[in-house]
């Protein structure tokens, strides 16, 4: 996907896509979500001039956001009560699993690309994605048996 416009216009269009992702990655901590989002776009601003023609800006922003989520790690504080159910459920899984799930399950990144971004092998990504069932359980209160994706301890 190529987009036209200034960097700021691209950011303006992408912001509402990135913010929910930041909320999920920050497990619902709004201050933390804003921190990683801001850091992402600062980094993007510094690197935008070097992007080649035809850049998938949305994908690049997502990569940077995932990178910042990993760099910042877990939020220091507790997530606020209430809010959207998915970020609240994400409190049940560690940050690396949140990043893997966000990239692959929600943003439909490939395993290989996600693994390269995260410094994980394909098997490592597979292991992290097994947290999907923990997430689902926290989200829906599902029976943890059945989809064949449980069995990975929460670390």
């Amino acid at each position: 996907m190529t987009e036209r416009g200034t960097f700021e216009e691209r950011v303006g269009r992408a912001l509402d896509d990135l913010y929910p992702g930041a909320l999920f990655l920050a497990r619902g901590d709004e201050a933390h979500a804003e921190r990683i989002l801001t850091a992402t776009l600062e980094r993007a601003s510094r690197g935008s001039h070097a992007r080649p023609p035809g850049t998938d800006w949305g994908g690049w922003f997502e990569a940077l956001l995932a990178g910042e989520a990993l760099r910042f790690g877990e939020p220091a504080g507790e997530a606020a009560a209430g809010g959207a159910p998915l970020p609240a459920a994400a409190q049940a899984i560690p940050v690396r699993a949140r990043v893997a799930l966000w990239l692959v399950v929600f943003r439909r990144w490939g395993y290989r690309e996600a693994g390269e971004l995260m410094g994980e092998s394909r098997e490592g990504v597979v292991d992290l994605l097994a947290f999907r069932h923990t997430l689902m359980t926290a989200l829906m209160g599902e029976d943890p048996q059945g989809s064949g994706t449980d069995g990975v301890a929460h670390s």
């Binding site: 200034t6 700021e8 216009e9 950011v11 303006g12 912001l15 509402d16 896509d17 913010y19 929910p20 909320l23 999920f24 804003e34 989002l37 801001t38 776009l41 600062e42 601003s45 510094r46 998938d56 994908g59 959207a84 159910p85 998915l86 970020p87 459920a89 799930l101 692959v104 399950v105 929600f106 943003r107 439909r108 990144w109 490939g110 395993y111 290989r112 690309e113 394909r122 597979v126 994605l129 097994a130 999907r132 069932h133 997430l135 689902m136 989200l139 829906m140 599902e142 059945g146 989809s147 064949g148 994706t149 449980d150 069995g151």
Partner: protein
């Protein structure tokens, strides 16, 4: 984005057939030809509760994320993000801008040489100087760096702003201004001015509004900036910031104020026509 299939072959209840079927069918939203391996995978999923549950779970998580995507970036967050970007960009501009010969020679700087935003910035800089100079008579004129940072901020906000209304209805503009900046006015009322839009702007940290009108094909920009300490003042032609010379490049600016509100018209129209528009309105 190249997609790979979730592979849970090491998980309890998942066998080789499950792995192959998921490899063929994930992500399920992708359109596929009904080739033999796809049909075989579908047959497997139809008969495998583990895989069927896996795909249901995938759909449920996507649905949950779709609901989360309805969360819009709060305006305050958006403002703070773009404040940071504005500072970042202004700093970069100043750090990377090569010294121009005009600066060394003392000649007026041509607009757009190092800040490629165009006429809007020139208008805004002139307006900033006009309004700030008026509200703080002892203040020194803004230097290029300060004007750049302030106008980058305003440009970014308008480039990405979500708070705007496109309308020719003065009543709608009145509601917008009342809601967004607490100034219940309908803009300029003049038979030759057709409102186009109104939007939030930010000048030197103050939230205001920009109303744009069409006047026989020319755009006339009308800034409305709340300012508590300001009293009434008759319209005056503002000098451009370019060395204070009225003949310098840039749009024409007329400023005036009413209690609590500073206003300005910025346009390429002749000053006499801008003043005439105000005489009729006022």
């Amino acid at each position: 984005m190249v997609s790979h299939t979730p592979d849970d072959r090491t998980r309890p209840g998942v066998n080789e057939a499950c792995t192959r079927a998921r490899a063929e069918l994930w992500p399920p939203e992708r359109i596929r030809l009904a080739e033999p391996e796809i049909l075989e995978a579908r047959v497997h999923v139809d008969s495998c509760p583990v895989c069927a549950d896996y795909l249901r779970q995938d759909a449920a998580l996507l649905e949950a994320y779709a609901q989360l995507r309805e969360v819009r970036t709060p305006f305050a967050v958006r403002e703070r993000v773009f404040d940071v970007l504005a500072r970042e960009r202004a700093g970069m501009d100043l750090a990377t801008r090569p010294p121009s010969s005009a600066e060394h020679s003392g000649e007026p700087r041509r607009r757009g040489v190092w800040f490629p935003v165009g006429v809007g910035v020139a208008a805004g800089i002139a307006l900033l100087v006009a309004l700030l100079g008026r509200s703080e008579p002892t203040a020194t004129p803004l230097g290029p760096a300060e004007a750049s940072a302030a106008m980058v901020e305003d440009y970014l906000r308008r480039a990405v702003g979500t708070e705007q209304v496109e309308t020719s209805d003065p009543r709608e503009i009145q509601r917008f201004l009342a809601r967004e900046i607490g100034v219940p006015m309908a803009g300029l009322i003049h038979p030759d001015l057709i409102p186009i839009r109104a939007e939030v702007c930010m000048l030197d940290g103050t939230r205001g509004a920009l109303i744009q009108y069409d006047r026989d094909g020319e755009v006339v920009s009308h800034y409305v900036i709340p300012a508590e300490q300001v009293g009434p003042r008759e319209p005056e032609v503002a000098q451009s910031m370019e060395d204070g010379r009225p003949d310098a490049m840039g749009p024409n600016v007329v400023t005036w104020s009413r209690p609590g509100v500073q206003e300005a018209l910025v346009s390429d129209l002749p000053v006499a026509e801008l003043l005439e528009l105000l005489r009729t309105d006022r």
